[in-house]
Symmetry: C2
Subunit: 348 residues, 2 copies
């Protein structure tokens, strides 16, 4: 394999000069430049990245801020696994990652961490889930003052100059869910959309999913399905009463849509009361959701590769810093349609 040394020898110059030409650092005579470029082109020389990286390697410090997960809301454990996987890899190349958490049900905890992180010194990059929109906007000025790149993960916000966004297109995922009901549910029946008040208020993402869902039926007027909405305070045992009332009142409901990972609560209810639906759709392949998918109670789960979201956000930032890789403004996660029969390919 051809190296910078071979080129230097051929051109009768030093490797330093070859390097200068290679990176357009200037200070090289036009004649030499031409000669070197000719040899490079002719030989098909590509700089060896290992040599390059070894020389350039320095310590990079990344800071990550995401919600912590618990049994009640397990979603964030998947991005976290991906982040941990990426940390193992980049730490062998001289990166340090400082992983911080907030409580996704407590805006104050988010704000506190956010302000602390945005005012840190001597860091090289940030990865943040701007889960609370209001609080994030409140501290926009701190973002603007940042001299290091930052990537948004899972939740996207407009009007910030984040280096990139990693996550799903929530609107489209809702639209797709509606299509799946339309394909699989008995004609003329009703889909029940279940959401919580607090989710609608705080969760930018859940809101977009429902908007996408409704948009499908606006655009596909030939669909024979009807939609009803049920708002509950919180997904837990308490939904039993609300949902039972609803199902008794309208016995034409043959499908249920929950625009979040909380579909397991509804599945538990359906199993307990032995209620059969044509189509039940929710998000994210948690252990519980996988169980109900396998039991045939959940029909489709919408997947978004949460592990990869975590993994990619770190790797992208590191490659950007260490290898000058240009970042795209968005890295949109796929919208996977998961059924019992292909679920094994989407477990993390």
């Amino acid at each position: 394999l051809i190296t910078i040394k071979d080129i230097a020898k051929q051109a009768n110059i030093s490797t330093g000069t070859v390097d200068r030409v290679l990176h357009n650092r200037g200070g090289v005579s036009e004649k030499t430049t031409r000669l070197v470029n000719k040899i490079i082109e002719h030989s098909g020389f590509k700089p060896n990245l290992i040599g390059r990286n070894l020389k350039l390697s320095k310590e990079y410090i990344l800071v990550v801020l995401i919600p912590f997960s618990n049994e009640e809301s397990p979603f964030w454990k998947y991005p976290k696994w991906g982040i941990e996987k990426a940390i193992k890899e980049v730490s062998q190349f001289g990166a340090k990652v400082n992983l911080r958490y907030f409580n996704q049900f407590d805006p104050k905890s988010f704000e506190k961490e956010l302000v602390a992180i945005l005012t840190l010194k001597d860091i090289d990059g940030l990865i943040i889930s701007p889960h609370f929109v209001k609080e994030s906007i409140k501290h926009k000025n701190l973002f603007k003052k940042l001299k290091v790149p930052y990537i948004f993960i899972n939740t996207d916000l407009d009007g910030f100059n984040n280096a990139s966004f990693v996550g799903q297109d929530s609107f489209k995922s809702g639209y797709l869910s509606a299509k799946l009901f339309d394909i699989s549910q008995t004609r003329e029946s009703t889909v029940l959309v279940m959401q919580t008040d607090r989710e609608l208020e705080d969760h930018h993402i859940l809101d977009s999913r429902v908007k996408g869902f409704k948009k499908y039926f606006e655009e596909n007027s030939s669909s024979t399905l009807k939609i009803e909405t049920l708002e509950v305070i919180k997904f837990g045992e308490n939904i039993t009463k609300d949902i039972t009332k609803k199902l008794i009142k309208n016995n034409n409901i043959k499908g249920i849509f929950v625009p979040s990972i909380k579909i397991n609560i509804v599945a538990e209810y359906l199993e307990k009361f032995e209620i059969e639906m044509d189509t039940v759709i929710g998000y994210d392949l948690s252990d519980d959701n996988l169980k109900y998918l396998k039991a045939g109670i959940i029909t489709f789960v919408i997947g978004q590769e949460p592990l990869n979201q975590g993994y990619n956000s770190i790797k992208l930032m590191f490659d950007h810093l260490a290898h000058n890789m240009e970042l795209k403004s968005k890295y949109i996660s796929p919208i996977h349609v998961i059924v019992k029969e292909n679920s094994e390919y989407y477990t993390q």
Copy 2:
């Protein structure tokens, strides 16, 4: 970041000795070994992979044998793109890849290339699509005599000691397809399974897909769907007569399954004659199939990330050779359910 040099200094020994302990090369006193191990553990030292790779880098020669693609059978262009992407990457780390082709409709062309490749000298690894089963088995002895690792891509064969397999589980993908018909097609209607004679004979994969498809209905006796089979000589304009006869004879056919990329031929027919189906399923997101998916004529396309199959087969082999990475015996591609609304995430 801590290095081998730091450890040597702390232990008052040379870096060479640290390296010997690190890799259990022997020839180090027990006392020194213990000391070094203690420091390593204590400091959380991880060897820097860049330094390691730079030192170890040598030229690896890989040979790849796959079918060439053309307009009539475009599938292999996707793995090829992935292979080309991987070649760009590994060639910067000192690998040379020799890409060879055969005609997937001509066993002789396969056999000729196969024998030539299996008797090559001075290569480090092979990636082969053993598309023709009979011919591959015929030269099993050449495989057995190989001293270098080889990976099978897309088609898997038992009884060879290939280092790994990269591809989809065809049986399961057929099973999943059947489930999708069951979910989305009108009760009591019929699914038409279309296959070609020559495909059944030559294409191990297509055969498995149909077996999986039928297995679903054996295992799910509650399904109300019926199955009929139509064998055609070859997918082309000529199918018009056969399929028309079939549809006239049985007007209860509401779904069509083609266990290959050739679903576009059927979609073209359905569009031309304005025939409406509940569910039409085929494989692989070729440009044509994408077009008919978007037009609403194909309902589901089964995806298998063909680009990644090509990409991964090269990268895995290279990491195995250059970085001693252990290979798993199988790298099974996901079975993606693609509809119009999420197709953008699966185009290559």
